[in-house]
Subunit: 154 residues, 2 copies
């Protein structure tokens, strides 16, 4: 792999300069927040290594690093739910990126078949205990994951 | 610390059941995406340990774990930019949470003084190289960080 980004910037240069110098963690990853380009809804959270980040920038299609499968993963490669990237942002200290995407196929980004991975609400104001009950914000599945993935995900 | 969440759920129970069972990583953290409750804009990304997650749920004010300062951190404790949590979601495999917040004070969530940490855009479609130039999506600072933090952040 011959992907090269800028390296070795000071904290103030990372924050203030207009140079992409991603700070990959000990596992070689940055965190990626994915939102819907039209609605702004947060769809999912994923990780990118240098190769996934470069592939996303160059192809305008979201690529991630699958920590469970330990390999580069083009989102939608199995399911058809490719994410076309409309805009990419990087955060202040350059250890996270934000994608604004349009999702192909059914429009689902969650492997459970839902539009977003964040489909359950946590109650606020209660004392925390092991039986704290969630509620569904969106229980609808746009596809049946068993039909698309079998036992895999993505 | 006596915070207790449910533990030991199977993958399908984590995804399908209405039980909060956060999967903290090897460092004891979950990732937290923070959005503006009105606009939906992604403001920042942070981390929570069990104590920060419980404090956020119970007080409805965002608490995080500061990896740089290695301590619990109530957002806005120094700057006044407290984040009042309107809604909290958890993702499919429960290793990430989403907060929808209203920000007090100037409305800035980034320690650089900007509304959002994601104030720079990454160009798409170009070949990646060490001199890939970013552009400012929002350069405006709502406060001067030197006046509020001195040398710290938060």
């Amino acid at each position: 792999m011959s992907v090269t980004f800028a390296e070795g910037l000071s904290k103030s240069d990372l924050e203030d300069r207009l140079v992409l110098a991603p700070r990959f963690d000990a596992s070689g990853l940055v965190t990626c927040v994915v939102t819907d380009a039209e609605s702004g809804m947060v769809l999912m959270l994923a990780h990118m290594n240098a190769e996934a980040l470069a592939a996303t920038i160059e192809t305008r299609e979201a690529h991630y690093w699958s920590r469970s499968r330990n390999r580069l993963w083009k989102k939608g490669e199995d399911s058809g739910h490719v994410q076309d990237v409309v805009e990419m942002r990087v955060d202040c200290d350059q250890d996270a990126v934000l994608l604004k995407v349009r999702v192909r196929g059914t429009g689902a980004s969650c492997h459970t078949g839902r539009v977003s991975c964040f489909y359950r609400t946590v109650p606020l104001g209660d004392k925390v205990s092991p039986d704290l009950a969630l509620s569904f914000a969106d229980a609808d599945r746009l596809f049946d994951p068993a039909n698309i993935y079998g036992k895999t995900s993505g």
